[in-house]
């Protein structure tokens, strides 16, 4: 009897451990997918609007190499820095940059309307497109890129956004190539972009 009870306890504990294991690994308790490779653009699914009012999605980007980054226009430090860094890299690349998609996706669609995005991107390199959309579609986009964002209240009654600040590079076929850190110096960033520009050639040959 005692032995049987012990067995039952053991089985119960095992089931519980398996249950906890499932909850934490595959279930609702699974950690957010951060630090993972983004999906290929061909496997993503979201609908957004660009700063000129066109409907856009991941398929818009297939056929040309692509650079994507997340931010918001109420961001005083990292975002204008990233946008001006990218503008500088694009100037360095010159005509090569004309073959690229360069997309700034907002993580703050409540404030970043199509009009707000249009005015903001107008101050930077003309190749940079600004995409916004519904909260739900922005979340679908960040999930595909394995990026994250979070709204954080500030003491003045406003809010700021924490967000993935890395820049994602994809080849013309939509395959993920590499990432550029937001503070990466030009001498590392520009060769990475050149790699994305030539990546498909390497894959298809």
């Amino acid at each position: 009897m005692q032995r049987r009870q012990l067995f039952q306890y053991g089985a119960g504990a095992l089931a519980m451990m398996l249950g906890i294991g499932w909850w934490r690994v595959d279930g609702p308790g699974a950690p957010k997918p951060t630090g993972q490779r983004p999906l290929p653009l061909t496997a993503m699914d979201f609908r957004l609007t660009d700063h000129e009012g066109h409907e856009v999605g991941p398929e818009t980007l297939i056929g040309r190499p692509t650079m994507v980054f997340f931010g918001f226009t109420y961001c005083p430090d990292v975002c204008p820095t990233t946008l001006s860094d990218i503008s500088g890299w694009l100037e360095d690349l010159g005509d090569e940059a004309a073959q690229m998609n360069v997309v700034f996706i907002t993580v703050d669609p409540a404030r970043d309307t199509v009009e707000a995005m249009a005015e903001y991107v107008g101050y930077f390199h003309p190749a940079i497109r600004g995409w916004t959309g519904t909260e739900n579609q922005i979340t679908r986009a960040t999930d595909g890129f394995r990026a994250s964002y979070e709204r954080v209240p500030t003491e003045g009654g406003d809010y700021t956004m924490n967000h993935t600040a890395s820049i994602f590079l994809f080849g013309a076929n939509g395959e993920f190539v590499t990432m550029i850190d937001h503070h990466e110096p030009r001498e590392f960033a520009v060769p990475k972009i050149r790699r994305a520009l030539t990546e498909d050639v390497e894959i298809t040959t």
Partner: protein, 155 residues
């Protein structure tokens, strides 16, 4: 007569320090150089300003506050990026500068966050920013407003 070489040195330093014009009020030996900021779109978005504080005194100084007529809530904030590449921004800890040391506020790190702008920040204009230190001294610097896409004090 003893002061003369010092003043010459200081003048030379100010001439070399570029476009920012430090002014002094009380704290003769804490200087603020390379100040710059970016133009804003309207007044709803917070602005950011950058500068380098050099402590030429023989004591450690701590920056305790900022004031400017341009914004009612200026604060030192710090952008941090974690291992997963996620950037966040929050009020910075006190900035303490040892004797002879400098602290640079630069894009992607420490910056003066100008919340509740009273006027738009217009490229080509300047605004006064007063830094208050733990010994009660103040330094006011005239901050040039550069373009939205500016990358540093020279661009």
């Amino acid at each position: 007569m003893i002061e003369l070489p010092y003043i010459k040195g200081l003048t030379l330093f100010l001439l070399l320090s570029g476009i920012s014009t430090p002014t002094f009020a009380g704290s003769e030996d804490v200087i603020v150089v390379n100040a710059w900021s970016r133009a804003s779109i309207g007044i709803n978005r917070p602005g950011a300003a950058y500068f380098t504080i050099h402590n030429a005194t023989e004591d450690t100084v701590t920056l305790t506050g900022l004031t400017t007529p341009l914004a009612t809530m200026p604060e030192i904030h710090e952008t941090k990026t974690n291992a997963a590449g996620v950037s966040s921004m929050s009020p910075a800890d006190d900035i303490t500068i040892g004797p002879g040391e400098s602290v640079a506020l630069e894009p992607g790190g420490l910056h003066a966050m100008l919340m509740k702008l009273q006027d738009p920040m217009i490229e080509g204009e300047t605004f006064p920013l007063t830094l208050t230190f733990s010994d009660g001294s103040e330094v006011t610097v005239e901050v040039p407003i550069l373009g939205i896409a500016a990358r540093g004090p020279e661009s």
